[in-house]
């Protein structure tokens, strides 16, 4: 579904350009769940930003192919229309724009890009109800302004609600588990599991095993200083939870020495 080859990216900082992604290789196929773990500042969110086309990052090398398209050539909205979705680590508040209007516009723009007619209001409302239930979002939140006054957990839940509504092919979940209480985590994870099919794929960025207990990954990758330094099966996450990242640092230093 998506193939990253030696992806490199820099960010503009006050001291000039700083390389954050230093050659990422990754292949994710339909039906798979991949997890990315790694210490703070290792570049996980940057990878999500680069894949979704956020401004401020410059791709300096490598390629990303998404279902036969050169993803890096596309505008953020085109990527979404092709089926890329990011559940943000820090969802923004948008005063004055209601969740309903926002999602209706998003869905209809995506449909338009596929040459489809806009969804009828009845159909849309029915779907909203259904999906809110699926992820355990209080239906009254859908009429409020996007994320405005939402608690941290509610914002995260709203991200997954949007995921459910837009039904993307490839979803990146950036620390969706942080800020969720235990029940909310379970509800959100169960929602995600219900959305998982053989035709879509997930990239789950997390620091903790607990989310991966629900959303069991096929592959776990460890990101360190802008590179994927280790990949394995679901047992790698358990190992990281128990041993932290020191052993990787050690391993790396040994390798560099």
């Amino acid at each position: 579904m998506i193939t990253l080859k030696d992806l490199r990216a820099t960010v503009e900082t006050e001291e000039g350009k700083k390389e954050i992604l230093k050659g990422i290789n990754l292949q994710i196929n339909a039906g798979e769940v991949h997890a990315i773990m790694g210490p703070n500042g290792s570049g996980k969110s940057t990878l999500a930003s680069v894949l979704t086309g956020r401004e401020g990052y410059e791709v300096t090398g490598g390629s990303v192919e998404f279902e036969g398209n050169d993803l890096l050539e596309l505008e953020p909205e085109e990527r979404a229309q092709h089926g890329i979705f990011l559940a943000f680590q820090y969802p923004v508040e948008i005063p004055g724009v209601s969740n309903t209007n926002f999602l209706k516009t998003a869905i209809n723009e995506i449909r338009k890009s596929k040459g489809m007619e806009p969804m009828s209001s009845v159909e849309f409302l029915k779907m909203m109800k259904e999906k809110a239930k699926l992820v355990g979002l209080d239906p009254s939140m859908t009429s409020r302004y996007v994320n405005v006054g939402f608690s941290g957990g509610e914002k995260k839940r709203n991200e997954i609600f949007q995921l459910a509504m837009l039904n993307p092919k490839f979803s990146i979940l950036d620390e969706t588990d942080s800020g969720l209480d235990i029940d909310a985590l379970k509800a959100v994870a169960e929602g995600v599991i219900k959305l998982k099919t053989n035709d879509n794929a997930f990239l789950v960025i997390t620091h903790y095993q607990r989310l991966l207990n629900f959303i069991v990954p096929d592959f776990v990758h460890v990101m360190f200083d802008g590179r994927i330094v280790k990949s394995g099966g679901k047992e790698l996450a358990l190992h990281l939870e128990e041993n932290g990242y020191d052993w990787i640092t050690d391993m790396k230093e040994t390798a560099e020495a």
């Binding site: 979404a80 969802p91 923004v92 948008i94 004055g96 999602l103 516009t105 869905i107 723009e109 995506i110």
Partner: protein
């Protein structure tokens, strides 16, 4: 003598000449009381001339740029060709009063008056002068006095037509009154000077919308005055919607006097025109009045809109609230000068003001000047101004969900502008404005 003051003198001489011709044409009516007021006004202009940009009040809007065209006073011309003037969309609001003025002249054939009956007058000034002469004489020029400046005096000197709305004590006019001012700039370069008077008696109620349109490409100037009298306990909703063409200039003065317990709300929306200067001044002459000023200016190209407001707290226990929002693109300029005067006796005043702006280009400008003059000690006053750009984060959030750049931008700007549009209580009008807002936002870069 520099060029500007020379132009100023030329204009003065021209107006004085216009005035003597006007006077001659009045045959007989020149002894009327209203004409004495006009005479005082032309004398004021003769003595004081027009302001220049050296005047503090005109610092950001150069009067010379408004006055530079050789305007012909529209009232001196025969009625123009009404074909091509289409007000069907306004008339489609089935229960609305529609008063159409073309270059300041009332056109009854295009208008429709639905509010009639005891204690109600909805019509034009010359009719009102016949039907309610004393009423007009006792209100005309009582608020828009010559001291307000030469633009005001110029209107007074030549005031011949305009809209009059009168609701007697305890009379509520249920239907909105839409006053459609059309500058017909197809064949000439005209100066139109509409003169409106709105009078709400004790506990009276009305909703009035002044709307401005242009047809044709010649430069035009509308120099208008609206005097608003809010009787005790009255409620008045008042809108000013400026849809003018790219070569249309506008100087408007809205003067309001509020008696005790009255409630006045003004919403001014400016998204057309070349140079626009709006003066909006309310004086609170009784206790417990409530006054709202809302404004939205949405500018592109080289448009210039200057809103000067004054909330004059002359009496205690009054409340004023003001919110002006601007969206400015290209090389356009917005000016907001919000003056709040709290006089010595005006204890327990509550006065709030804010001006928020989004600039869409590096060359867009907004000059924001709050001016608080407080002479009472027990008051609550606040003011705030913000100027910023659209949030990159919000833009990316919307785009990352599949909403294209321009739509995402329009969505955020609409959200920003919406709380001003929402103050329009007439549903039909509000929906039209909403549509127009989106249309403009989609075409603004």
């Amino acid at each position: 003598m520099d060029k500007i003051s020379q132009e100023n003198i030329d204009l003065k001489m021209r107006l004085i000449e216009d005035f003597s011709n006007f006077e001659a044409s009045l045959n007989g009516q020149s002894n009327e009381m209203i004409h004495n007021v006009r005479r005082d006004a032309i004398a004021y202009i003769n003595e004081n001339g027009f302001p220049t940009k050296k005047f503090e009040e005109w610092k950001y809007t150069n009067p010379a740029n408004i006055l530079k065209n050789d305007y012909v006073q529209a009232f001196t011309q025969p009625a123009g060709d009404l074909s091509g003037i289409d007000v069907t969309e306004v008339l489609a609001e089935s229960n609305a009063n529609v008063l159409v003025f073309v270059n300041g002249r009332y056109e009854s054939s295009l208008s429709r008056i639905v509010s009639k009956g005891d204690g109600i007058f909805v019509g034009n000034l010359s009719e009102a002068y016949v039907a309610h002469k004393d009423l007009i004489n006792s209100h005309f020029s009582k608020l828009a006095k010559n001291e307000k400046g030469a633009f005001t005096a110029m209107n007074t000197a030549f005031a011949t037509d305009g809209a009059v709305v009168y609701a007697a004590d305890n009379v509520q006019i249920p239907e909105i009154i839409r006053i459609i001012n059309i500058a017909d700039a197809r064949t000439g370069t005209y100066l139109s000077q509409p003169r409106n008077i709105f009078i709400a008696g004790v506990n009276a109620k009305a909703m009035i919308s002044e709307e401005f349109f242009t047809i044709g490409e010649n430069p035009s100037l509308t120099n208008m005055i609206t005097e608003v009298f809010c009787g005790r306990g009255s409620m008045l909703e008042h809108y000013k919607i400026q849809n003018d063409g790219a070569n249309a200039n506008h100087v408007g003065s809205t003067q309001i006097k509020q008696e005790a317990d009255s409630h006045y709300s003004n919403t001014t929306i400016s998204w057309g025109g070349n140079i626009t200067r709006n003066n909006l001044q309310a004086v609170f002459a009784g206790n417990n009045t409530e006054c709202h000023f809302f404004g939205l200016y949405l500018l592109s190209g080289r448009q210039h809109v200057d809103n000067h407001t004054l909330a004059d707290h002359a009496m205690p226990n009054c409340y004023s609230n003001e919110l002006y929002k601007g969206i400015i693109a290209d090389r356009a300029t917005g000016v907001f000068n919000g003056r709040i005067m709290v006089r010595e006796d005006a204890q327990k005043t509550n006065a709030y003001q804010s001006n928020n702006c989004i600039l869409l280009s590096d060359d867009a400008m907004n000059y924001s000047k709050p001016q608080l003059e407080i002479f009472a000690d027990d008051v609550k006053c606040s003011h705030g101004a913000t100027t910023g750009q659209l949030s990159d984060q919000e833009m990316f959030y919307l785009r990352s969900r599949g909403i294209p750049h321009d739509e995402a931008r329009a969505m955020l700007l609409q959200a920003f502008a919406e709380d001003v549009i929402d103050t329009i209580k007439d549903e039909y009008l509000r929906e039209k404005l909403d549509k127009k807002l989106i249309e403009i936002l989609m075409s603004t870069r």
